[in-house]
């Protein structure tokens, strides 16, 4: 692990809202807040895990980083430069530095293009090298993801490959431009255990050899523990806990994180794991105030404080931050500084 303390990517109080389509008899659609002022910092060479369930906004965060969508409020910084509203040439230059690995290997490859064409596409778009140089780069990329010997795979089409192989093609495609930052959006959720393990190891290799930084989006705490240096837990568009991977898992402070750990199937983990029991059996009725996003399901929540005030992210020392009034009190920092 050779990352310095330099921040490669920063999300600063990002807000993203969606308006659902108006129903036939409704006035307008409902507004859904996908991301509610989240702030994240990733250092160079780090694998940063973003863990959350469906609807947490984790995928949205990833899409904002690769600029498939624009944030409503807030800023995104790459290497200190504000990239939130890039256009034209600058936007294209950005795509050389930041790439994405998509979740569904069955949909993220163009079925009409051969593997070679798919992997060389970014090189063609950015006009990198002559034909021979492109060949070499693609060959190298294929070897590094384990699609060896390359000429066996180059002219095949996606439907001739397994899910695991397709995902490796997707990784090769993302890496071929030698990006500095890669968003991996649940790259293994559609794969079997063995194929997932292969993909994890490939990502670790990439980080080691090329010093690429990753944002690893997942719903699996166990996968995040294996892969990630630091983990942020996100709930309904809010970052509720951030810290070093092992620390978050061994010593979780937020009731939601604790509930996630409780929920993992226990057998075979031979009672090492504490039962935190922070989840209410059934949800509270919404009160209509702001307040903590987790209040409705939290056993610890108090009507007075938690349902009215949203807890800020407070640093508890050792770069571990939690957004909960009941966590051990620590040093309050400004809006989510968690480096």
């Amino acid at each position: 692990m050779n990352h310095g303390e330099e921040t490669i990517l920063e999300l600063d109080r990002i807000v993203k809202k969606y308006r659902t389509k108006a129903f036939l008899f409704g006035a307008r659609g409902q507004e859904v807040i996908a991301l509610n002022e989240i702030s994240i910092k990733v250092t160079r060479g780090e694998i940063f895990g973003l863990v959350g369930e469906s609807g947490s906004g984790k995928t949205t965060a990833g899409r904002l980083i690769v600029r498939l969508e624009q944030p409503g409020e807030g800023k995104i910084y790459l290497d200190g430069h504000d990239i939130t509203s890039l256009k034209g040439k600058a936007s294209k230059a950005y795509s050389r530095r930041v790439q994405m690995i998509f979740q569904d290997p069955y949909q993220s490859l163009n079925p009409q293009l051969s593997i070679f064409e798919t992997i060389s596409e970014p090189l063609i778009i950015h006009k990198i090298g002559n034909t021979k140089a492109k060949e070499d780069v693609v060959w190298q990329a294929m070897k590094s993801v384990g699609l060896s010997p390359p000429h066996d795979f180059a002219h095949r089409y996606p439907h001739q490959l397994s899910g695991g192989q397709r995902q490796r093609v997707a990784i090769a495609r993302a890496m071929v431009l030698n990006p500095e930052f890669v968003v991996a959006d649940e790259p293994t959720s559609m794969l079997d255990a063995s194929m997932s393990a292969q993909i994890f190891n490939i990502l670790l290799e990439m980080r080691k050899k090329l010093n690429v930084s990753f944002l690893f989006i997942t719903h699996s705490l166990a996968a995040a523990r294996y892969l990630c240096d630091r983990i942020a837990v996100i709930y309904r568009g809010n970052v509720v806990e951030v810290g070093p991977g092992d620390e978050i898992i061994e010593n979780p402070k937020h009731p939601y994180t604790q509930a996630l750990i409780d929920a993992l199937p226990q057998f075979g983990h031979s009672g090492d794991v504490n039962r935190y029991e922070t989840l209410l059996r059934s949800e509270r009725a919404p009160s209509g105030y702001g307040g903590c996003p987790f209040f409705l399901r939290c056993k610890l929540g108090s009507i007075e404080k938690c349902s009215r005030e949203k807890p800020p992210l407070i640093r508890l020392g050792d770069s571990h931050s939690v957004a909960c009034f009941y966590a051990e009190s620590g040093i309050k920092t400004s809006s989510g500084d968690n480096a």
């Binding site: 050389r96 790439q99 070499d136």
Partner: protein, 308 residues
């Protein structure tokens, strides 16, 4: 790695061939497809042979070749297998030429309309917003216009229309239908992850449309071409029958015009029936071709995902 350059040639060639063969083996299973293809082969043969009769004897010229000994419509004989028309011209050579015209008109008009429709449909579907609305409203306007009537008006204004003018106008009236379908297909492709991946890689809209969307949309275009051929042939025949075709070309519709105009409709079945039957059969066979191709292009053939 010069070996690789040779490889790409071979494997790419192989891939096209293997895909074609795969498609063919599925096509072969369709009963309709086989009949359609056989009929089309017959017509294609007719079209190819259309230049033979005049070479045998100038009297077999479809337009100008008059049998020196015959001055009226006569039935089938050894000299004229299908008989002669009212001027003594050989009906069979007219029929063969008509086949050639049908293919020309049908395929050209179909190709042009599909080309236009595909490009416009893709641009409308992918770009969205103003361009989409504009193009689709344009398509609506054209679809609402009665093609035949407009062509008749043009013919009345400009006198007789040349055959290529007719082809061009058929294409101009038929592209909207294709563009609607292609646009729908484009819309469904637009949000697929592999298109997003191309955007993330930095591809421009133009590149995405022509490199990523087009290959996925072309099979549908090909399918539509077969349907467009049928309508093109019928429109041309209708125009010719009504007297607004190109007087210099001998198409089946033109033959029907002559039968009718010269009052031989009920008197010379050997003259009336062949062109009519040919028009019906060729449109039927293109339709059957299209149906069989539909099975070939069905997505259930693509082996996506894993089972169990």
């Amino acid at each position: 790695m010069t070996v690789f350059n040779n490889d790409i040639g071979l494997s790419e060639r192989f891939h096209w061939i293997s895909r074609l063969l795969e498609g063919w083996s599925i096509y072969k299973k369709s009963f309709l497809g086989k009949i359609g293809l056989t009929l089309l082969a017959v017509f294609a043969l007719m079209a190819l042979c259309s230049s033979i009769p005049p070479l045998i004897d100038p009297m077999y010229q479809p337009m100008a070749g008059v049998d020196p000994e015959i001055f009226k419509a006569t039935g089938p004989s050894t000299r004229h297998w299908l008989g002669t028309d009212f001027m003594g011209r050989d009906i069979l050579s007219q029929l063969l030429t008509g086949a050639r015209i049908a293919f020309m008109v049908g395929v050209s008009a179909a190709f042009m309309s599909v080309f236009l429709g595909t490009v416009i449909g893709m641009i409308a579907g992918y770009t969205g917003k103003f361009m989409d609305t504009f193009l689709m409203r344009l398509a609506d306007m054209i679809m609402v216009m009665p093609a035949l009537l407009v062509l008749l008006m043009l013919a009345a204004l400009f006198g007789q229309l040349s055959i290529w003018f007719i082809v061009f106008f058929i294409a101009l009236f038929r592209w909207p239908g294709v563009s609607r379908v292609i646009r729908a297909q484009t819309l469904s492709l637009k949000h697929r992850p592999f298109i997003e991946a191309a955007r993330v890689a930095g591809a421009s809209n133009l590149r995405i449309i022509f490199r990523h969307i087009m290959p996925n949309v072309l099979p549908l275009s090909f399918l539509y071409m077969t349907f467009q051929v049928t309508s093109a042939i019928i429109i041309e025949a209708a125009l010719a029958f009504l007297g607004f075709g190109d007087p210099g070309t001998v198409s089946w519709g033109m033959m029907l015009q002559w039968v009718w105009k010269t009052g031989h409709m009920f008197k010379a079945p050997y003259w009336l029936l062949p062109p009519g039957i040919c028009i019906s059969l060729i449109t039927l066979s293109f339709y059957m071709l299209g149906r069989a191709m539909d099975e070939v292009l069905d997505p259930r053939l693509r082996k996506e995902g894993e089972t169990d």
